[in-house]
């Protein structure tokens, strides 16, 4: 089994983690009119990067969401940080 580092709990078994989505995809400003294209982009479209990918994950045992940067080819973890932290 692979181990993923939770920023709050440390290294834990991969089965405790759930992929939530790509990071850096803010919800459109719903106080303004939003085009169908923009909604589709937000809801469905993604970079699906080959190589380094910034993603939001949840550690299901502590229920904390965090950002993990991962190499999608080798599965190596390149870094994790809590959602409110800005990476150095």
């Amino acid at each position: 089994m692979q181990q993923f580092p939770c920023p709050f709990c440390g290294l834990r078994d991969e089965r405790e983690f759930h992929f939530a989505g790509e990071a850096g995809k803010p919800r459109p400003d719903t106080t303004q009119p939003i085009s169908d294209a923009d909604w589709a982009k937000y809801l469905f479209y993604c970079a699906n990067a080959k190589g380094a990918s910034h993603e939001v994950w949840v550690h299901t045992t502590c229920q904390e969401y965090f950002v993990m940067t991962r190499d999608t080819v080798t599965m190596a973890v390149l870094g994790t940080h809590a959602l409110h932290e800005v990476p150095a």
């Binding site: 169908d36 809801l43 469905f44 993604c46 599965m75």
Partner: protein
């Protein structure tokens, strides 16, 4: 040189020591320009080239493949062919594929070994039996064959399945599609390649696309490891790597790439002559002509481009198989591998313009691309030749993510991809 396969040519070549067989396809150097270039020499790409030449009379076509023909998902899947979907749009698409498969060996003069041994989707409770009846009705309304089997009929067809009293998932019945079955995956790639080559299509292997030539917002060709090749239109059929090509071509796709794992056991005596799938565990298996059991299951849990397996999904798939057929607990695995599949938000494929003029896409088949090869090629060829959709591919245009006309087979037929 003997090109056509027939009883007569086999006997004649046998008498001559099999020295006169022509290679199945040429390996030409790429020309400077083609009318249509297809990126990806898997089943969909090769079928597209074949139908472009056969149905639309186009001659100046190239298929560009970064590795070898059928070296991606076409050679990695579990070879199941079926059209047991829920929505009429899906049934029209996948049943076109089954119909084309039924005539394919004759059409391309190459035995793709399509064995219509039937496919069973098991139901494990009374509620699931009601949903199974709904699917059977939907399939029949859509024009596909479907039968609702009770437990006794399932046991007659596949006595090796788990009918014990203490079964975790007792079998109440199944959706049976008798025209479904399995094919020989390599033969589909090789057969389409050979047939396309004979109609003048250039198949260029070991030629990796590194970028698109875009002039004034319009794609005019592809940059490759064998130099720049110009094209009137470019069709991209690269399955799990479609998003990678999209980044090069300046368009975006609503896809996630996942590894999908498969397994083959050691060869055993004839054990089961149909395909059985249990939606409860996501596992399914069939027996190949060689005797090995071909086993598949659900997607990996995490998006990835790594073409290899991992333990958590292996455990899920194999424990599901043992639950379905406990006699398999001691059978040894011979091989295990993974391919990268591209999964769309509504679990239905994408056929249409890419968003960059001159580039068209055929992707998003998820875990079920193999069964759709003939239809994918047929419809993509229509799109590339005419610039407009065939009626059957129209609902699968990527514009459905803006209009909201999703074809949600994940909830419709409970199929994972």
């Amino acid at each position: 040189m003997t090109r056509h396969f027939s009883t007569f040519s086999v006997i004649r070549e046998g008498l001559k020591g099999h020295t006169g067989w022509a290679p199945l396809w040429r390996s030409p150097a790429p020309k400077d320009a083609y009318d249509i270039i297809i990126v990806g020499g898997g089943g969909h790409g090769l079928a597209t080239a074949y139908y472009l030449a056969k149905n639309h009379g186009l001659k100046n076509i190239a298929v560009i493949e970064k590795g070898w023909l059928g070296g991606g998902n076409t050679g990695r899947n579990t070879t199941v062919i079926r059209s047991n979907y829920f929505y009429p749009e899906s049934t029209a698409l996948y049943d076109l594929s089954v119909r084309l498969y039924e005539g394919l060996s004759k059409d391309i003069n190459y035995n793709v070994m399509f064995s219509q041994r039937g496919m069973m989707v098991l139901a494990h409770s009374d509620a699931e039996m009601e949903m199974a009846a709904r699917t059977v009705n939907a399939m029949q309304l859509g024009g596909a064959d479907a039968e609702l089997l009770d437990a006794r009929a399932v046991q007659k067809k596949a006595p090796v399945l788990n009918f014990r009293d203490d079964a975790r998932y007792p079998i109440h019945g199944a959706i049976f599609q008798g025209r479904g079955g399995t094919g020989r995956h390599d033969a589909v790639a090789w057969g389409y390649a050979r047939a396309a080559d004979r109609l003048g299509v250039d198949i260029i292997q070991n030629c990796e696309v590194s970028g698109f030539l875009i002039e004034g917002g319009v794609c005019k060709g592809v940059e490759t490891s064998q130099g720049l090749i110009k094209a009137g239109r470019v069709g991209v059929a690269t399955a799990g790597h479609s998003s990678d090509l999209a980044a090069m071509g300046g368009y975006k796709l609503p896809l996630h790439s996942y590894a999908l794992q498969a397994f083959v056991t050691e060869a055993i005596k004839p054990f089961m002559d149909t395909v059985a799938f249990s939606p409860m565990t996501g596992s399914y298996f069939s027996q190949s002509d060689k005797g090995g059991l071909v086993i598949g299951g659900g997607l990996d849990r995490i998006p990835s481009y790594g073409q290899r397996g991992n333990v958590p999904v292996q455990e899920t798939v194999l424990s599901g198989i043992i639950d379905m057929a406990p006699a398999l607990a001691k059978v040894k695995l011979l091989r295990h591998w993974a391919g990268i599949v591209d999964v769309s938000p509504d679990s239905s494929p994408l056929i249409g313009p890419s968003g960059t003029d001159g580039i068209f896409i055929n992707c998003g088949w998820g875990t079920g691309g193999f069964k759709a090869i003939p239809a994918g090629g047929y419809l993509f060829a229509h799109l590339l030749a005419t610039g407009t959709h065939h009626d059957i591919s129209r609902p699968f245009d990527p514009d459905r993510f803006q209009t909201g006309h999703l074809i949600d087979e994940a909830s419709g037929s409970g199929i994972a991809h």
